[in-house]
């Protein structure tokens, strides 16, 4: 997985977000075994303590569970993943709408703008 960490937010929160994004986008599938904390930490170039904290946080949300003998797994609860995905999409959309509002656009203007841009994108792709 590609890790992109900025430096303003707590590292563990960014790790949680990126693993969540990985689960939503299907990089990590329901029931998948996760690499060890040390492997993940090396991959992301972060302290193993920070990766551990991110795992604890994900466990708390039920997205990841630890099996004493065989390691850590992504939840097999598809509904939970669906819920997470919806929550994530809602956040992004809400954020986008807020920004459009700041630019002085009405909701119907924003919606027609989305249609316009996605159509011109489609045309570009088909050419």
């Amino acid at each position: 997985m590609q890790w992109e960490l900025n430096t303003d937010k707590p590292v563990y929160l960014q790790l949680v977000e990126q693993i969540q994004a990985g689960i939503i986008s299907g990089i990590y599938k329901a029931g998948d075994k996760l690499p060890s904390v040390r492997e993940l930490a090396t991959e992301a170039t972060v302290s193993p303590n920070t990766m551990q904290r991110a795992m604890t946080e994900l466990e708390r949300h039920g997205l990841v569970y630890a099996n004493r003998t065989s390691g850590r797994f992504i939840t097999s609860d598809e509904n939970l993943i669906k819920k997470l995905k919806k929550q994530h999409i809602t956040e992004i959309t809400r954020d986008y709408l807020d920004r459009m509002e700041l630019l002085g656009l009405q909701l119907d203007e924003t919606i027609s703008f989305i249609t316009e841009v996605s159509e011109s994108n489609n045309n570009k792709n088909s050419v």
Binding site: L5, T7, D8, K9, P10, V11, Y12, L13, R38, A41, T42, A44, T45, V46, S47, P48, N49, T50, R53
Partner: protein
Amino acid sequence: MSVILECKSLTKKFGSTAALMDLNLTLERGRIIGLLGPNGSGKTTLIKLINGLLVPNEGSLKINGIEPGVESKKIVSYLPERTYLPDWMKVSDTINFFKDFYADFDEKKAYEMLKHLNLDANKRLKALSKGTKEKVQLILVMSRNADLYCLDEPIGGVDPAARDYILNTIITNYNENACVIISTHLIADIENVLDEVIFIKEGHLKLHASVDEIREKEGKSIDSLFREVFRC
């Protein structure tokens, strides 16, 4: 968690200048800690005190409850600023050298890391580039199963790819029983790897806190905070 390093009112003077002034500091095992400060702030002085290369004027310093000396050197692995290994030695000689000196040296681990770097152990240090020599030295230091690692500017002279290698070496060799101190002024490069940071300024302790705590509270990176605290 248990304490690995404890400094109480630690003071080191060179003539009339105080390199460290009344420093109180407690470090725990299992942490990766950045020792940060501008040039001449006292970083190397502290590391040399930990390694018994300097003696404090006042105050005390204890490693796992013991004063710096033969016993403490058994559990402290030290990477100095400059390489000290003789040029005529082969890489394999340096490994034997460390094996002789330190009971906790893991020869197998050292060779594994060398192999990972595609480094020929039969080469003499003379034939290696400066960056490669630094990597060899880091491999030696990290191949010990020490309780405290003191790395003085390990990323100062190397390119970004080598820097990543060094950080990865530190992470893969991490164990929860040991503490790693990394002194540097290249903060942005390593701050994601650190659990805690120590800021020292003109020999005084300015700050000792966890990285995520700082980011949460201040909403900024350690690098920006450093620039603020140490504005010239």
